[in-house]
Subunit: 229 residues, 4 copies
């Protein structure tokens, strides 16, 4: 495989730390560029420390192709790649501004153009609904599949009392969406302080602005990557 692919995936992990989306945990993956039935993801490691050599290859059933220690939550990734053939990359984190929306009844909104991908709606996955009281970890293919069901055709899913998942058609846009999920959450929390109705993007505005974002993500990506190389 092209070494640059692995380096970009590792950079994505470090970018999400640098941008305040990941802390000592969080992981990002991408579908194998040449084999749609495989995906790539770091071995179990703090995201700030990930380098190209840490990337492992998995089947969509989450079987590792070498014997290093994988993340348990690879099932979250595998479940989505199996169900969503349009998804080429996935980020999963626990940023402090996003979790509140997984706990209360207020839906996330697309507060501005950078968060346009939220305008289609942001479902919440409550693991209790199908699995009762658990340790919250997406630790099996069954749980991964249930989570993928809850995501449906959306771009972002909240996990109750846990975190969020952002998916996208490219690695760069998965990183972009993870970052602006977090930023938009902060904007919405602050708008909630002011109270009253919120004139967020409607679905059509969201679709149109998202197309611009997908086309121009490279400009942000170059900057973010430069900061972590």
């Amino acid at each position: 495989m092209d070494r640059a692919v692995l380096e970009d995936l590792a950079a994505a992990s470090r970018i999400l730390v640098d941008q305040g989306v990941f802390d000592a945990a969080g992981h990002v993956s991408m579908r194998h560029p040449e084999r749609a039935d495989r995906f790539l993801m770091s071995r179990s490691l703090a995201p700030e420390l990930v380098n190209a050599d840490d990337i492992m290859e998995f089947t969509l059933d989450c079987d590792p192709q070498d014997d290093r220690k994988p993340f348990i939550e690879r099932f979250l990734h595998g479940g989505i790649y199996k169900k969503r053939s349009d998804v080429m990359a996935i980020a999963h984190g626990h940023s402090a501004a996003v979790i509140p929306f997984s706990l209360v009844n207020t839906p996330m909104r697309a507060t501005y153009h950078n968060a346009a991908f939220l305008a289609a709606g942001v479902p919440v996955f409550d693991i209790r609904d199908r699995f009762g009281s658990t340790d919250i970890v997406i630790s099996s293919a069954e749980k991964g599949a249930a989570l993928a069901d809850a995501l449906a055709d959306k771009q972002v899913l909240l996990l109750r009392a846990h975190g969020f998942v952002a998916v996208a058609p490219t690695l760069q846009s998965a990183v972009f969406r993870a970052i602006f999920t977090e930023v938009s959450a902060r904007v919405q929390l602050q708008a909630a302080m002011l109270g009253g109705q919120m004139a967020a993007l409607d679905e059509e505005e969201g679709r149109k602005a998202d197309a611009v974002n997908l086309a121009t993500v490279g400009r942000s990506w170059e900057l973010w990557k430069k900061r972590v190389m």
Copy 2:
């Protein structure tokens, strides 16, 4: 043209990143110091990366004078320079504390002397009113003119679900106003947490304090510039 002018404009861009007003996006422009029918603005580039060599020249119709790739949103700048002969510099960004005021019904206030320029009032431009559901981008002369109409004779305009524009009679004061639009938004959000009436600056206090700010902006500018050189 004096090279120092280009260097100051580029520094303004980096200052607004360093001060937390711009992120991977945002742009600042100035009217050409010798030709009132031209303005200067960076080519399409993350604001943190802008240097003097990246500055392009545009007519007020936003026609670039060389063949590098310009920002699409140059129309926001051109629209204002055309309508407001007093405006010599413009900053446009999407800071997280300001966007909430573009979404809800609470007007921005001048919470303290550094934000005095807000006391005259801060209108909100909703692009839907004249253009329906769009991608939110100020991507044409028509949209730029509509935005300039909404700004009217004020110093700051909010763009619904998008960001803000700050204008000023000098480059240094446009930077100052962009920074304190953001800070004042944070102060007002926090005052809203406490609730009750807010004893912000009235219009006369705003006019008087703004005159002091315009006269003393150099002291802040030197510090800000030092940090990004």
Copy 3:
């Protein structure tokens, strides 16, 4: 004693500064690994400056075993080690996000899996109840004992108008719990902005997720430690 033990305890102190839990104050201690009737804690020093050579040894009555100047608040630590044989390490700080929960009637909740140890409940110790108006400092064995009574069998205790204590079965997990007490407090404050019921972890989820955290804390610890060495 193994020098590495002292170095880890000193690192714990600097980690809690680096992670924003301690400021110019705060202290962390551990039970002596070979003598259950002794504990280890820095001499009186800003936590950012603590090194292995600054660690002192104390009896559970808080008598120092050398003549350097100890923290007055060692009584907080001694009181807990005396009453809770399961506790092997303690962190005490005053982070700005946690203190609000010591002042008002809202109980802290376990907002996500990293804060699972909060699900069993977080009591508040009001020093006034037994000691009237004081200087707030846990400055005697009697006050330390009263605080340990209030902690009971929980993992975190809030001190009214003062700060918090986190206890754990290992040094690494005491650091983890101090960090995620702070993070979870921020999450809960933000959820409170949104209003309505909060679907925090229930007690059983908390027990299960906490077991995962205790088993995997080493991955975070290595990263945190790397940043302060």
Copy 4:
């Protein structure tokens, strides 16, 4: 004069920037250690840039003893030194967390032991009451005297739509009080998010805890100073 005095006063200025209390503005002064009718304060300069050589000497009428450019707001300092013989140092800033309390009707409280000096009460000075609509600047002896009247015998005063003043019996404790005025404001804003009654320090607790703070401020000061040297 002892050079170390000037160096400490300059360090105080840089400390308050480093600790997030001052931005590009803010000033700290101290009474002359050998002449009670003089005070020392930087020439007009961003506080981050102040060095020992920038310190000027003033009479209590604010007449400079050399011909460099002084801060206009020296009258704030002079007014207090004239009226309060117990005050040996003064800090004045505009931190974003404090200003809200100058705008609304909620009094600042002493949210924890480090903010004990607030327990005696925090008055608000509204310049409009005696001077009508102004530019907000404390630009004359008359305004300085009015401000000192509003401060009365307290340790902190809020200036409506402007900022705060903290006074103390030593330079180190003036810095301490400026820092914890800001931190306590943040704590109180967050407590306000939770709602309900707030069990802040009462006056007697405040007096007792303040005595501890004044006695132990050196430990924090050494750390803060180390960071800016």
